[in-house]
């Protein structure tokens, strides 16, 4: 099962949260926990902007979906590509699970691993220019392999 959705620009948060709720309304899950990430107005940026490498994002997500399935849970995720203005949202991750504790642990672990492992690059947008958010970025596992 893959439930990974990519959109150009900001996410339609209200629609996505409602649609996912409806999609699983008959699945007998006791807990639904979405995490919604919104672009903060910080240091005068106009927007954030995102590049995504989809093949590896999909395989990373599929591996997580297998892990969720082993706990009778399901994960959904939506992410923006391109520019996302301040006070709009770029990221939603959600877990559905029969059990509360599984859901609470999984949303935490999924979001943290997402930050470290999802092949997505973030840029600040200032005066229409994209500036790689280098200091806020995390080298992926195995980085430096080619440094010699």
């Amino acid at each position: 099962m893959r439930v990974l959705e990519l959109f150009d620009g900001p996410l339609a948060v209200e629609d996505i949260l409602a649609r996912w709720y409806r999609e699983e309304s008959g699945s007998n899950y006791g807990a639904y926990i979405p995490f919604i990430g919104t672009v903060r107005d910080e240091e005068g940026i106009e927007a954030l902007s995102f590049d995504i490498y989809e093949p590896i994002l999909k395989s990373w997500f599929d591996a997580w979906q297998e892990r969720a399935k082993a706990h009778d849970a399901v994960l959904k995720m939506a992410h923006s590509k391109g520019d996302v203005p301040v006070h709009t949202s770029s990221y939603i991750a959600a877990v559905f699970s029969p059990k509360r504790k599984v859901a609470l642990a999984m949303i935490n672990d999924f979001v943290e691993d997402f930050k470290a492992s999802a092949p997505i690059w973030k840029y600040d947008v200032r005066n229409g220019e994209r500036i790689y958010a280098e200091t806020r970025s995390t080298p992926m596992a195995g980085s430096g392999l080619l440094k010699g």
Partner: protein, 73 residues
């Protein structure tokens, strides 16, 4: 030939190189001064699978991707 692509902010056009493993690719890229910083912090995928072994063999038609530090969300 092996295709090498540079993802996200690296902003470098893809290369075609005649190398038989990642160690040879490493040597070839070290000759490029603008790549020095990225070699320090990039992870590597071969044909969209992450790899962690410098001895990983490469054959003609393989595609190597360099993935710089990430920040989704």
């Amino acid at each position: 030939m092996v295709k090498v692509e540079f993802l996200g902010p690296i902003g470098k056009a893809p290369l075609e190189l005649d190398v038989t493993n990642l160690a040879e690719l490493s040597k070839a890229l070290q000759g490029d001064p603008e790549m020095k910083k990225w070699l320090e912090n990039c992870a590597v995928a071969v044909n969209d699978t992450m790899v962690a072994d410098l001895n990983h063999p490469l054959k003609s038609g393989d595609r190597v991707s360099l993935l710089p530090p990430v920040c989704g969300g």
